[in-house]
Amino acid sequence: MAETNGTGQGDPRDLAPIAVEIRRLDKWFGDFQVLADIDLTVKRGERIVICGPSGSGKSTLLRCINALEPFQAGELIVDGIKLTHDLKRIDEVRREVGMVFQQFNLFPHLTVLENCTLAPMHVRKVPKAQAEEAARLYLKRVRIPEQADKYPAQLSGGQQQRVAIARALCMNPKIMLFDEPTSALDPEMVKEVLDAMIELAQTGMTMLVVSHEMGFARQVANRVVFMDFGQIVEINEPNEFFAHPRHERTKLFLSQILK
């Protein structure tokens, strides 16, 4: 998939080795501080798995990266674009960052194919035929080419989530965000979605994944980030992270989820 990723070929940003840079980021919901002093640098092609207890701010962090949530202090540079409140740059960032949600969020009034071609056609101004061709290619990659003309409600959860992945990929993003992509799925469908993500990882995509799928983290992640109370508590490469957690909170958390 790396070769089809060349929307901005010749763009000097492609050479930039840093995909996401977060410096001392703080965010509040009213008086409640959701994110505190977040520092994280994600290299191009790197795959990060973020885990942590419910309410620790994982989703919020992810949503800051594509500007679905504003933040109040610190710095966030995505694909060389510094995020501020400037709407223009928000659009630029969102074009380069794909997101997959826990609840899929497919557009129910559009067919699978239309879900996939909508943004390329209207945001990137790709001609319809070309957008459809690309969409069919990605649907094939996630192994549901035969569902292109169905409506989302006619698909299983696992199929819907794979459509959501294909839909995001159709925009040729440089960075992919996944917010608990498998936690709304029945167990037997988890694997098909993880497989699609593993294949994506093998193409060299930069990925930030909020997930508690430890097998997936071990197999795919370059680093695992553990969050608690809106802070990053520990970062390590997966084998070390699971075998020898250092912080007390990490140990406690791992002992709970591995039980």
Binding site: L106, F107, P108, H109, A119, P152
Partner: protein, 382 residues
């Protein structure tokens, strides 16, 4: 518990299949379940039946059995020397029917009204028939082409050989349809804008939308109509001063836009946040997100309510009567005073005819809305 119940059980032979017991099938069971299921329901059923028995026969007798079907003037509808009771005087309706349809629209130009009805029916059909091809084009036709074409057709454009017809001559069904159609065609887009304004993060936009919606909704239509017909001329230069019909149209549009805004708002509120977020995450701008993702879904679930508002608006159009417009009801009102047809039953006939007309129109719209509602709740799909 006498003998110890065994823990395990294995069925030795399949259970026999039987028909339901007599008490659960046939017309008696149906009656019991639907009409007499509890003492209270039984009383209700009996009271309702008595009311029907008391009301329906006289109505049928008046409208059909005792009705006069042929005749040239009032003589036919007067009680005869034999003292026979006289019902509805249908020859009166038959003779004045063209007045009820066209008002005083010039005789030679009435084909223009017929053409307008046809164009309107075509557009409405295209839009309301969900399986129709190219419905987006249908919407463009109904909301853009039709209004412009109708305006030229009905009020005239000497340059293309269509003589001017002053709106003071318009009347009857024509005016009722024009007022209702203009009300819908304009109030829907206006309502959408107001509903979006009400959700806006910009305080001024939000304030004006809320103020407009709440003010108009807090005032009876008749007040809005009077305000439009009295105050509108004060705001525009005299040369541009809108005629009576135009003022009424503005009043009706303003009024129904406020209601439409609330209908659309309910639809917007039903769209999950995830839809907005998915659209934003794909890089869609606000306008595209609304146009391509949010409004199509919101309007689709709102169609039954839009049709219901249309029914209400259709009935409300009768109020333009009070600002001097000759709508359908007003033409009947005028005709029944005609000495040629003055009989004790003329008024009742006219009103019965009006009631039938409004009932058939509104009831068919409601039927359509209900069918649609069932279909939409049956699931997403096409």
């Amino acid at each position: 518990m006498g003998a110890a119940t065994p823990i395990a059980y294995v069925r030795s032979r399949p259970a026999e299949r039987r028909r339901p017991p007599v008490s659960a099938r046939g017309p008696f069971a149906w009656l019991r379940q639907n009409l007499f299921s509890t003492p209270f329901n039984a009383v209700l059923t009996i009271v309702a039946m008595m009311a029907l028995a008391w009301l329906v026969p006289p109505v049928i007798r008046f409208l059909l059995i005792d009705a006069v079907w042929v005749g040239a003037d009032r003589e036919a509808c007067l009680a005869g020397p034999d003292g026979r009771e006289v019902g509805a005087c249908w020859p009166f309706v038959r003779e004045r029917i063209f007045y009820f349809i066209y008002g005083s629209y010039p005789l030679g130009e009435r084909w223009r009204v017929d053409l307008f009805f046809a164009l309107f029916a075509f557009g409405a059909g295209w839009l309301l028939w969900l399986e129709a091809p190219r419905r987006t084009l249908g919407a463009a036709y109904f909301f853009v082409v039709l209004p412009i074409a109708s305006f030229i057709l009905l009020s005239g454009w000497p340059a293309v050989g269509l003589a001017r017809v002053d709106t003071a001559l318009w009347g009857g069904l024509l005016v009722t349809v024009v007022v209702a159609a203009v009300g819908i065609v304009l109030s829907l887009p206006l309502g959408i804008v107001l509903a979006l304004g009400r959700r806006s993060k910009m305080p001024i936009v939000k304030f004006f939308s809320v103020a407009f919606i709440e003010f108009v909704r807090g005032v009876p239509l008749i007040t809005v109509l009077f305000m439009a017909s009295v105050m509108l001329p004060l705001f525009v230069p005299p040369a541009w001063s809108p005629d009576k019909l135009m003022r009424a149209l503005v009043g009706v549009t303003v009024f129904s836009a406020a209601y439409m805004a609330e209908v659309v708002r309910a639809g917007l509120a039903a769209i999950p946040r995830g839809q907005f977020e998915a659209a934003q995450a794909l890089g869609l701008s606000y306008g595209r997100m609304m146009r391509l993702i949010v409004l199509p879904q919101a309007l689709r679930i709102t169609i039954p309510n839009i049709v219901n508002s249309t029914v209400a608006l259709f009935k409300d159009t009768t109020l333009v009567f009070f600002v001097g417009i000759f709508d359908f009801l007003r033409t009947i009102e005028v005709a029944r005073a005609d000495p040629k047809w003055a009989t004790p039953v003329t008024s009742a006939t006219g009103y019965a005819f009006a009631a039938l007309f409004y009932f058939v129109c509104c009831w068919s719209m409601s039927l359509y809305a209900r069918r649609l509602e069932r279909r939409l709740s049956a699931g997403q799909g096409r």
